[in-house]
Symmetry: C2
Subunit: 330 residues, 2 copies
């Protein structure tokens, strides 16, 4: 039955692929013709060519994408940090000990530069403290509510509008070619899961991220999951290959990042056998988005860029490789 | 493109479903007609009936299965514990401190009763110590090698032969009806992942289990993941709903277990809205498999059984509900 299902589905895909090709010869219309687009198309054609020496069976076509700065914007501050501002404000009266906490002081003073310089960990720890005791359902509702109303300071639009159109096309193109697409991000799983399916077509079970300790308990005779005041896992830098191992259990054949926090994920992807594709978004478009790299506190791209250059990984220039950035652009 | 792909695939499924029905009217031929089989067929028909009030969209059709005692046998000792015997023997010279360890003493004396009475945690801790320092690739190879040669003491067959034929049919039937099937087990992710895809049709990324701390490092200029001497997560009892939350992020609508270690997973599944199906395998067939429940150290079924009875969960009798147990039976 399963075998027949697969065969029928494969036939359907082939028919569809033919149909799609007749409709449009360009699966990535928001990408300018250039080396980056060519590398992507060539890689996908190679690993999906049946009988070819670099053919990869569909079950092994794992593609992992960083989120902040790779699938959506991350300036002037990681969007999840902005959410945190509201959460921490609400929780502050219950946490007098925060008055000596550097991350809290930076938040209270809206000192975004100091906050960014502190890095993800102290801020994740504040998030963890701010929402501990909440059930996961309550936390989920708080995130949804925030995302519905909050607006980005530069674009005056909901944060979930600020996803990259070329990447949405790439995700869809990969899935149409039998890839399974995953997010692997330093952000927390909850924050991404509330919109990843609707916005990226990536279901919650394919979102790998940072997480805090969760405990099962009974409240009023009902089983609930409660957030404990302890960080459990940081899915950033060397944590990313670990998160991939824990949640996916297979080495990606394609990985896409934009900062030094993605370097180890890219290295681990590159170290596997057969054809591999490693890509990095370079934010070099101050007009349409933001321009930053080596000196930035948010999304710093320095060592990973050098490695990309040395090893021939694909560096995608926002300015020259992307015809348009956001879906709302004309 | 993705939308079209889904539509074409759905149409293909419908055609296939019609074809399959014409071929055979019974998707679960190894299940005897009875309440358990009826509950399963009725549940699947209900949640997949388009336009019905209990319809569940495919993306939310999450089914979680315990492994030991639910998908394959677990007597006279969890198969992973048998693997441990060999691993610990090999590692013992490097661990003089084990001579005072209760779990190690029980292992060395082959005192299976004492070992079983100790529960999973001290034994998992020994596993963790025995293989710390190994890369995940080396550990993976050790498990594969063991599974290829080891044989079950009663059946004199490879352990991976001892999977339950009725459950293989059920997994396939659920997937053919748009369900995504997951393993959620107290066993370690590595041990299950090496055979879950081939044997159950469940890919590594849909295996949730216990795990030890993993660290990224460079060895001889190559990135590797190394096993640290620390248990990271126990996916058993109250850990199961947490593992489901961490790796899946959606509440199952069907959960299948066989012991008290599955109770919280079943409770969490039952507590969701809409139609739900909770099932428990009762090992009551000493002739064809093993018979054990309330008094057993391995796969103890006591509190979860009482709750199943009180709440009308489906208790599956191996003896009367399953026409045959193993695929190798005639």
């Amino acid at each position: 039955m399963e075998a027949i299902r697969r065969i029928v589905c494969t036939l359907a895909f082939l028919l569809l692929a033919g149909f799609a090709q007749a409709q449009s010869t360009d699966p990535l219309p928001s990408w300018n013709d250039g080396a980056a687009k060519k590398n992507i198309l060539s890689f996908v054609a190679t690993v999906t060519a049946k009988g070819g020496k670099d053919f990869v069976p569909p079950v092994e076509r794992i593609a992992t994408f960083d989120n902040d700065g790779t699938l959506w914007s991350e300036q002037p501050l990681y969007f999840q940090f902005v959410f945190l501002l509201d959460q921490v404000k609400a929780a502050a009266p219950k946490h007098p000990e925060w008055k000596d906490n550097a991350a809290f002081k930076a938040l209270a003073a809206k000192d975004l530069k100091a906050l960014a310089a502190l890095g993800q960990k102290p801020v994740l720890e504040l998030i963890v403290a701010a929402n501990s005791g909440m059930t996961v359902a309550e936390y989920d509702a708080a995130i949804r509510k925030w995302l519905e109303t909050a607006k980005h300071p530069k674009f005056q639009r909901p944060y979930t509008d600020l996803v990259y159109k070329p990447q949405l096309e790439l995700l869809e193109y990969l899935r149409a070619n039998g890839f399974k697409t995953f997010i692997v991000s330093g952000g927390t799983i909850e924050f991404m899961r509330v919109f990843s399916e609707r916005v990226y077509g990536i279901p919650p079970e394919q979102v790998v991220g940072s997480s805090q300790l969760i405990k099962f308990e009974m409240r009023d005779g009902k089983p609930v999951l409660v957030r404990e005041p302890k960080l459990d896992f940081i899915d950033d830098g060397p944590g990313k290959p670990v998160g991939i191992y824990r949640n996916i259990g297979r080495r990606p054949i394609l990985a896409f990042g934009n900062s030094d926090g993605d370097q180890q994920m890219l290295e681990m992807t590159a170290a596997g056998p057969g054809k591999r594709l490693m890509l990095i978004v370079h934010h070099d478009d101050a007009e349409r988005e933001f321009a930053y790299d080596r000196a930035s506190h948010i999304g710093k791209l320095d060592k990973a860029w050098d490695e990309a250059t040395a090893r021939g990984w694909t560096v995608v220039s926002m300015k020259s490789d992307w015809k348009r950035i956001y879906p709302f652009e004309k």
